[in-house]
Point group: C2
Chain length 440, copies 2
């Protein structure tokens, strides 16, 4: 009786999922029909944070993903291999798959979904983005009737925690990263988080769902937060902004007609966000995803972006979704014709991604220059020569005997801004370009 | 070919839905398989904001809901009757139903869902709460694996618009209501909005989904915003709060063990919300719904709570959801055994609602009293005698020659607070109780 699931991995997320599955009272009644058949682990004799019948533990992951009794394989082991191979093998053996593995989906999603469609199984991944926040399902279902214009997210909790503390305490990046590591909010090797790579994986997944095409991860531009300084935080604040690591997927529009074009921007970078923007108030380890579409306008999903409970909630909700199709007579023998098109992922083409040189954005620039008359005028002329229109150019004060100048541009083409910047760097009056950030 | 829908009503929401259905490019591909068979209206020869084949218009609503060709009836006419009867007739004729009608569902949901389960059809209502914000589907699906502790929402755009303007301009209720009426943000008869009745309908629906039981609408406590003054706004702000009309559904917990009890609080009232709370920044006509559950923690859904585009997006997403089950081989002949348990609504029992006297809350109280020594002491003693512990009691200043005193309590039982208040009203030193508000 019941629907049998096999878990690959019993770390934080796996243990959280087991806790929910073994304690179904006062949750959705369908949960009581779901049974854990096997849990694949590396080591049998380790203390576990949950109690379950010892006989379900196995180190034989291959036999788990091929077990004829198991209908749903839940991959919560993380990492690229053997996760990818096990997911593919499970699919080939007719198992539905639930995964929390953004890295595998962002890199091998095409291979995995092609295999899933051939085998007639579902691959669900709510936990891969935004922890517990329901965002994958709404993008596939409730928001699918819209023409999506943009998805903009704070989707990395570690960097949001660091930036929030930098903002609140006026501290610099390195010491706050070190403390985040001590507190367990950042990994010993923080690169995937602080260099924006984790956010890049996630925005690739969101963009694929929002815009109905496949995404080459290598085409996602990604810039981390290491170069954000306490000084920039303070100036941003004076100008009415906070600095957030945003992941942005946006459909380009025709510069004159505003008609949507068949081309996306996909980028992760620290960004000055106006204080009144809904994402500006998303602090600490919280995540939020803002979706803009026609005709819905703006909707935002906010919640805990990580952690055992939230992520397990997302994993088990995917299991429940598949279980619901199984008990309702879909499911076990679905084909391309009978798959539920709101659960399956059938797009084949690759989205066209525009190069960063072509994006249009506002920019924030901080310079150190000789403190002498005429410098600001020269800067203004140089930007003007490159078709970069400025909103403000202000000498903030002196730093190390140099004049510290902060410039905010209007919306301009990145290529124009960068060539102006290259020119500036050659000016004898310019001591250094302290920072360049994009402005939402 | 395709799935045929019939619309009841072609007002704002109906017209918005037709626009989406007739223009499926760049939306979910399944939309192109959905065809509008009939649109039921009161008058044939009225100018319409959308173009569609004239022959689909009909004034014969009965024949629309019994048309054997139509698989999905979309009720967007509003009002209680004939909406309720037409929905029931559609169900009895085997049609799936999509409705945006919170008033009908909040009052006749039991009758409608019982009929739907017997007939083996789905009744979906994403647009009934929160306009375009996906919240009904996430509550049924992604959040269903959680034990929900509370759903707290700003779910009436009109009152949120009025309160936001009162807060930002320091204005009083009446003139801002009048302007909201001129601008079309409030109805000529504003009672349903400003007295909290619309929010009561919606929280009844959300509670039913979140807690898996039926709700008697008459048991929802509802208090509007007419008595909120500019003075209270200003004092709330000084104390670190904003005033919002909140709709709250919360499962009671045991006072000692914190174990969840089988009893809900269901209430709509103006509430002092701490500035750092995620709902505090939800302004203007925006809505937001905060869901708290175990193990997910807090997630919030934010977006436009009304308007043609957003509401139409929600209506069409429900149509899409049903269409997806129809093309995937569920659907046309579903029974209690084969209905998708995440789309159907099968709970039978009524939730137990605790009386307001039993709820536990913090309170804000503003009094005018004789300006003489000992009054504050007497007030403090009186609250103490009724087991009401106070957080602060402050004489703010003088108003009309009376001392204006603002009191904020700790969490206390409403009955205790009210009896203390009854006592106070009898004190000769007390001129009047200017306002009593609950604090989140």
């Amino acid at each position: 009786m019941g629907i049998k699931v096999g878990l690959l991995g019993l770390g934080t997320v796996g243990a959280g999922a087991v806790k929910i599955l073994l304690d179904p009272a006062d949750r959705h009644p369908l949960l009581s029909q779901i049974a854990i058949a096997k849990i694949g682990v590396r080591q049998l004799d380790k203390p576990r944070p949950v109690n379950f019948p010892a006989e379900v533990l196995t180190t034989d992951l291959e036999s788990l993903v091929t077990d004829p009794e198991i209908a749903i394989v839940v991959e919560v082991m993380g990492g690229l291999e053997p996760a990818r191979s096990l997911i593919l093998k499970a699919i080939h053996h007719g198992k539905h798959v639930v995964t929390a593995n953004k890295a595998v989906i962002a890199r091998y999603g095409d291979e995995i979904f092609t295999a899933a469609n051939e085998a007639g199984v579902y691959v669900l991944l709510e936990a891969a983005v935004g922890g517990g926040i329901p965002v994958i399902q709404p993008l596939k279902q409730a928001l699918g009737v819209n023409r999506i214009q943009a998805v903009t997210g704070i989707i990395n909790g570690t960097t949001n925690y660091i930036l929030t503390r930098m903002q609140q305490e006026g501290g610099d990046f390195e010491p706050i990263l070190a403390e985040a590591q001590r507190l367990g909010y950042a990994e010993a090797d923080p690169a995937a988080d602080v260099d924006g790579l984790d956010a890049a994986d996630k925005i690739a997944i969101l963009a694929s769902l929002a815009f109905g095409g496949r995404i080459k991860l290598s085409e996602v531009y990604s810039e981390g937060i290491r170069q954000v300084t306490a000084a920039d935080m303070a100036y941003a604040s004076r100008l009415g902004f906070v600095i957030k690591l945003l992941a942005i997927a946006r459909r380009n529009t025709h510069p004159d007609s505003e008609e949507p074009l068949d081309e996306l921007q996909l980028r992760v970078h620290p960004t000055l966000v106006p204080l009144a923007h809904p994402l500006a108030a998303v602090n600490d380890v919280y995540n939020a995803i803002l979706v803009e579409g026609d005709p819905i306008g703006q909707v935002m999903f906010f919640g805990p972006g990580a952690g055992e409970g939230p992520t397990a909630s997302a994993v088990v909700s995917d299991i429940l979704n598949i279980a619901a199709t199984l008990v309702s007579g879909q499911g076990s023998e679905i084909t391309a014709k009978t798959a539920n098109p709101l659960l399956a992922c059938t797009h084949q083409h690759y989205c066209k991604i525009s190069p960063m040189a072509d994006i249009v954005s506002r920019y924030y620039l901080r310079l150190l220059a000789e403190d002498r008359p005429g410098v600001i005028g020269k800067l203004g002329l140089c930007f003007g020569d490159h078709a970069v229109s400025l909103e403000s150019i202000v000498q903030i004060g002196l730093r190390d005997n140099y004049a510290e100048i902060v410039i905010v541009s209007h919306e301009v083409k990145e290529a124009h801004f960068q060539t102006a910047l290259d020119d500036l760097r050659g000016f004898p009056e310019i001591h250094s370009v302290a920072s360049v950030l994009r402005v939402l």
